[in-house]
């Protein structure tokens, strides 16, 4: 197992896209943190503003999570796109170990980068926050670890999708289209009276539920579908279960199929 992890570590750090994606993710979220901090410099910073600053606007557009998910997709999808799965498996023929090493390394990278990103964003915010919001109080004390879990789940999902589709493009499409189009569409359809029975199911939409991990305020319908999400960690559990299902399917197919 340790050599599979070492393999993955060298694989990850000898790829230029790793640095590009991480750099771009940190930069974009820092830019959002700066923009919001600057715009609210004369106001009292609310927990909602602080959440946006700390996560770089992840509630609106989770850039860092998506970029780390792409790193996850590359971890598995590149092996097929470039045919390296053959040398990889002749070095490490234990497929479960290999996939586990990929998932662990991607998850670890995502966790570290999420923490680094929050540190940068808090640093930027503190330039303008006179006294600053209390990061140890509700809801920020939960949003901060929630954000780490959120980014890690996205990254693991990327690796699982790349393995499931054995390539990069399909995995990317699923990752981007499902939350943006499919879930939005289902939520919109549930507003139609003939389909309002959909509303109780909306709390199980994985990406929407995952978003609750970094929510600073409770869900409000405000013209949208009337339903309640589970609480923060249970909603995170819904997203985690979705990621786990994809991963298990990808893993069992990886074990079974020709490489």
């Amino acid at each position: 197992m340790s050599s599979a992890l070492r393999f993955e570590w060298v694989r990850l750090r000898t790829l230029r896209s790793t640095y590009w994606l991480i750099g771009l993710g940190l930069l974009l979220t820092a830019a959002i943190a700066f923009g919001v901090s600057f715009a609210t410099r004369n106001d009292i910073v609310t927990a909602e503003d602080a959440g946006i600053i700390v996560t770089g606007g992840a509630e609106l557009a989770p850039f860092l999570a998506i970029f780390l998910a792409i790193i996850g997709i590359f971890a598995t999808g590149h092996e097929y796109r470039h045919g390296t799965i053959q040398p990889t498996l002749t070095a490490i023929p234990q497929r479960s170990q290999l996939l586990l090493a990929k998932v662990l390394m991607v998850a670890l990278t995502a966790a570290v980068i999420a923490v680094v990103s929050m540190a940068i964003n808090i640093g930027i915010g503190s330039l303008y926050w006179g006294s600053g919001p209390d990061l140890g109080a509700e809801p920020l004390n939960e949003v901060l670890p929630g954000y780490v879990v959120f980014v890690v789940l996205y990254a693991v999902l990327g690796a699982a999708l790349g393995q499931l589709f054995r390539g990069v493009p399909s995995a990317l499409v699923i990752l981007l289209v499902t939350p943006l189009i499919v879930e939005t569409l289902i939520a919109a359809l549930s507003l139609w009276s003939a389909l309002d029975w959909l509303q109780p199911a909306l709390k199980f939409l994985p990406f929407s539920a995952g978003g609750r991990l970094i929510a600073t305020t409770p869900y409000e319908a405000s013209g949208g579908p009337e339903f309640d999400f589970f609480d923060r960690w249970a909603s995170g559990g819904v997203f985690a279960a979705f990621v786990a299902i994809i991963l298990v399917v990808a893993w069992s197919l990886f074990k079974k199929r020709d490489a």
Binding site: F7, G83, K256
Partner: protein
């Protein structure tokens, strides 16, 4: 020592590899030969547990999946360009080294060995096929393995490169390593291999040494030129099992089924003057063609002749044998194709 037993692989209804069993012994180069699509790559993938199928392959008595750090014992390259286009050659090898507990310095050693030192920090997307093959060989040698499995390693190499590869493989074999190399070109294999495993459509055609293959699948013949060719042909035809044909242009005789020396003796006994007497051995390519000709998977169509050029059916021969008449009446013993008009003897 590699022992493959009953390797079997099916894609839907099509059997790609049909119960292949063979051994690859250390100390020599074993060529794995077959036309394109014969199942060579699939066989190698089965051997390395990359594909699921029947049968088993043992490397010194152990299955591939049970070997700890297999790269240190088995170096395998199945595809020429199996690397990320922007990861440098050196980093590609370092990555695999990390996964096999091999020190990073070994990457530079093997790159030096295959002559890629100058481009080791370059992105391999610009590599030619020949350079990619060299990187592949470097990858195979990374763990200093006792067994090498290479799929078409000479593809894309120039003649100089092929010569180099042959010398490398032969010297590695001399060190006692087990080497299994595939190719669809017999000319390559005849230069490199000591033993051959020849397959066609997934089935075994020949397993043994190169000379044996040639003897079994080539017919040597004797070329004779003589001012008294007709007389000599007459004499030779009287010998059992001898076939003689005469080239229409220059009257040279092509004799098969007889030793060259015997032709000379017969000519001498019958006072026939000879201008030329030579043994003709069909080339290895010809042997390969005759051995695998019927088992080629993808055969290009012959150029079609002018329309209406089909030979006329013999009178009395059934036009379609599968018509299925109600009851077979007593048929005269006419066998279509038995007497071909214009056929030579």
């Amino acid at each position: 020592m590699i022992t493959a037993r009953g390797l079997y692989k099916r894609y839907g209804a099509k059997v790609a590899v049909d119960h292949l069993s063979f051994e690859v012994r250390p100390g020599m180069v074993t060529g794995f030969l077959g036309p394109n699509g014969a199942g060579k790559s699939t066989t190698m993938r089965l051997m390395l547990d990359l594909d699921n199928g029947g049968g088993e392959t043992l490397f010194d008595g152990r299955k591939f999946g049970t070997i700890h750090h297999p790269m240190r014992e088995i170096g395998a390259v199945l595809e020429a360009k199996a690397f990320h286009p922007t990861r440098t050659a050196r980093n590609h090898l370092r990555m695999l080294a990390a996964g096999s507990g091999i020190p990073f310095s070994r990457a530079d050693e093997v790159l030096e060995f295959v002559g890629l030192s100058e481009v080791k920090t370059k992105k391999p997307k610009s590599f030619s096929l020949g350079m990619a093959q060299r990187l592949g060989l470097a990858q195979a040698l990374l763990g200093d393995p006792t067994t090498l499995i290479l799929d078409e390693p000479a593809n894309g190499l120039d003649p100089h490169g092929i010569h180099w590869l042959r010398d490398v493989l032969k010297s590695l074999a001399r060190e006692g390593r087990t080497i299994f190399v595939s190719s669809h070109l017999l000319s390559e294999m005849s230069l490199m291999a000591d033993q051959l495993v020849v397959i066609g459509r997934g089935t075994m055609i020949y397993n043994g040494d190169v000379d044996g293959f040639v003897q079994r699948f080539t017919q040597s013949s004797v070329l004779v030129r003589s001012p008294q060719a007709a007389q000599l042909a007459e004499v030779l035809r009287r010998v059992d099992g001898v076939a003689v044909s005469q080239a229409p242009q220059d009257g040279a005789l092509q004799v098969s089924g007889i030793a060259t020396a015997t032709v000379g003796e017969l000519a001498f006994q019958h006072n026939v003057m000879l201008h030329e007497l030579a043994t003709q051995t069909a080339s290895l390519e010809a042997a390969f063609m005759s051995a695998t000709g019927e088992s080629e998977e993808y055969v290009a169509r012959e150029l079609l002749g002018p329309p209406g050029g089909e030979p006329a059916l013999q009178p009395g021969a059934p036009a379609e044998p599968s018509a299925g008449p109600p009851a077979a009446p007593p048929v005269p013993p006419s066998q279509p194709g038995d007497t071909t008009p214009g056929g030579a003897e």
